[in-house]
Symmetry: none
Subunit: 209 residues, 4 copies
DNA sequence: TATGAATGAGCCTTCATTCAT
DNA sequence: TATGAATGAAGGCTCATTCAT
């Protein structure tokens, strides 16, 4: 990689980091491109060499952060399995991942506000095709693999995953940020029970024993 | 009510109608206060005699429209019960109302876009306290009454209602507007099954006497 | 006229004068709206209350100045006729007016540069319908009246006037500003001879004597 | 000519063609240097190795296209003379050339818009000294030769040619592009009559022998 | 109450030009 | 010669809000 390329990569990273900082602390709308550029230490015009506009960089950040959350959760899962010398069953695996993500969002509320209700199916789908980096993850694929590992077959796995993601994201948004109708810990039992129900109800049971 | 009072009421109504029209057709962000005022036939400055800013009027409209949707659904329910000379059981009642609202939103997508993901707990709660008109409805109250009518007792009814509303609103948004992961009719069975599950799982069964 | 109206009129005048000054001294393209506003002593945004954009004010100025040139020439003509107790014949009248305008443009080259090649049929036509002030003049109308006064009838008077205006304006531009192919005084005889020719060739001679 | 030379020539040609395409389709002002360079397949910085700025390349194109129009008209004239086994008299020759150019401009309005009112004496003069190619033509020279061929002598031929060019160019601009005050065919009779007049009025008649 | 002229900060975006490679 | 990343000034324009009338 030439000096120029390295320099370019540095600027890109600098822009992404700066924008993320500003977006999470004052919101997307109240952040101006001038501000992003200034804080990133580049000229205003240079911004446009890297991104089409403010929403371009925002989308990349959302996809990127969603992806990060998910990947970290999966890593934590692996670590857990390793240290416990076990392999969690499917339902527990899903709950584990969701719990990990929710806890992270509970800790990092600015991040939650930022990706807020955008942590949704649409963005997830997009995240698979237009990620910032190339090694973004296919959630559905991972989901299916977890099921398969546990010899579990689901009817309409795509819809099941969709229902879960939508439920988790909208519920967590309200609970974490507004404590409505109760705080995260209070809502978790209901949430997880519901998720387990959704999974069970869509399991296909092989006939013969 | 004096002539002046009436005049004031007229202007308020005109502003609300105009803003709703503009918000649903071009979006909140792309609608300026000047535009609202102009279309409502009043001076720009006058707007501020009625609303604090654009978001003030927006919130009132969301609350108002959500309320309308809900009330109409309840009316349709009553009509149904009357014409069938029956009283739907609790679960079916809830599904009926949700179905009615979803169908309306499917027909009126601009409205869905407008209240979009705002059809949520927070706004619902607010709708009870800061409604435009005074006869806005207390959803939780109605929910509880339906349960009671059917002699059903729920654990944490507030949380149950919350889960349902969040699930319905975020699922419908994606399904209706983007057909993701499938269209409304395709998602309904899964959605309704899940809702029935949530309700059942939180039912308190009286011990036999 | 209320205080407000007077104030508004003052601002309009101030804007027009300032813009004219800047346009003629540094050109339209190199003059920014910010500059016009600043020099006129108003806020940038206020500019847009009076004009759509830079080209709007430019067109008004061109129309206005063209109109002024023409009116002054006609006034000078009347003064001449009065002081000489005569009424110049049609051809001489036209030449007199053209000569008066050319001399003024020769003295005021910035003005010539400004209205430059825009002193044309299109603008003249527009000047009749969208003038800044209401008392703008209909050139064709005046032209016809001059002919009639001298009992002269022209074939296609509109086209004749058009030919003359185009010829005068493009010839004068080159001669005055660049001395090409010779200076104004050098070109005048040829120009006037040609104009007289055009007029004569289009005169309709009544038959019987 | 070395390979490098050829390469250089190719780039120059590519730049000129691309710029002409863009200038005529979107106008000079709305065409950026970046765009020209990109479409020509060279780097932005390279543009400056060939031209000083946008106006440099524009002027070259105007001169070049004007020259082309004129040369083609003269070629058509020769073809006409050949096929009719005649030699048109001077006046008819001039009208023939003008007519040929006007018809071409009527067909190619983008070109007219581009060279528009620049088809003038100033550029014509420049065209003689700073042509893109070296074989650009001296209009005045050709004009004089045509006169001489027909044994005609003109007073101030330079001024006569100038008057004609100015008249033709400004009249045609208005007529072709805006149909003001009438379309090209409508204005031609008046225009050609006037041109013939100008020519006749400046002819020097040899005393009888 | 109602008006609407005035404000001016603020925004996004473009682009000619430079210069290190 | 050629490149193209970087610059940063400049520009046009919008709009929520104020305030004198």
């Amino acid at each position: 990689m030439g000096k120029l390329q390295t320099n370019k990569q540095q600027k890109l990273t600098s822009l992404l980091n700066t924008a993320f900082e500003l977006f999470t602390s004052k919101g997307v709308n109240k952040t101006s491109i001038a501000e992003i550029a200034e804080n990133a230490g580049i000229a205003k015009g240079t911004f446009y060499l890297y991104f089409k506009d403010k929403y371009d960089i925002r989308n990349m950040l959302i996809a990127h952060e969603s992806d990060r959350l998910f990947k970290e959760a999966v890593e934590h899962l692996h670590a857990y399995n390793l240290s416990h010398e076990t392999e969690l069953p499917f339902e527990d695996t899903i709950i584990f991942i969701i719990d990990d993500i929710l806890n992270e969002l509970d800790r990092n509320r600015k991040l939650l506000t930022f990706i807020s209700k955008n942590l949704s199916w649409g963005i997830f789908k997009k995240a698979l095709t237009t990620g910032v980096s190339e090694n973004d993850v296919d959630f559905l694929d991972v989901f299916n693999r977890f099921a398969k590992n546990d010899k579990i077959r689901l009817r309409d796995p795509e819809i099941v995953l969709f229902l879960i993601i939508e439920l988790v994201s909208s519920v967590s948004y309200s609970a974490i940020l507004y404590g409505e109708p109760t705080n995260l810990e209070g809502i978790k039992p209901h949430l997880y029970k519901t998720i387990r129900r959704i999974l069970k109800d869509n399991e296909i049971h092989s006939r013969k024993k």
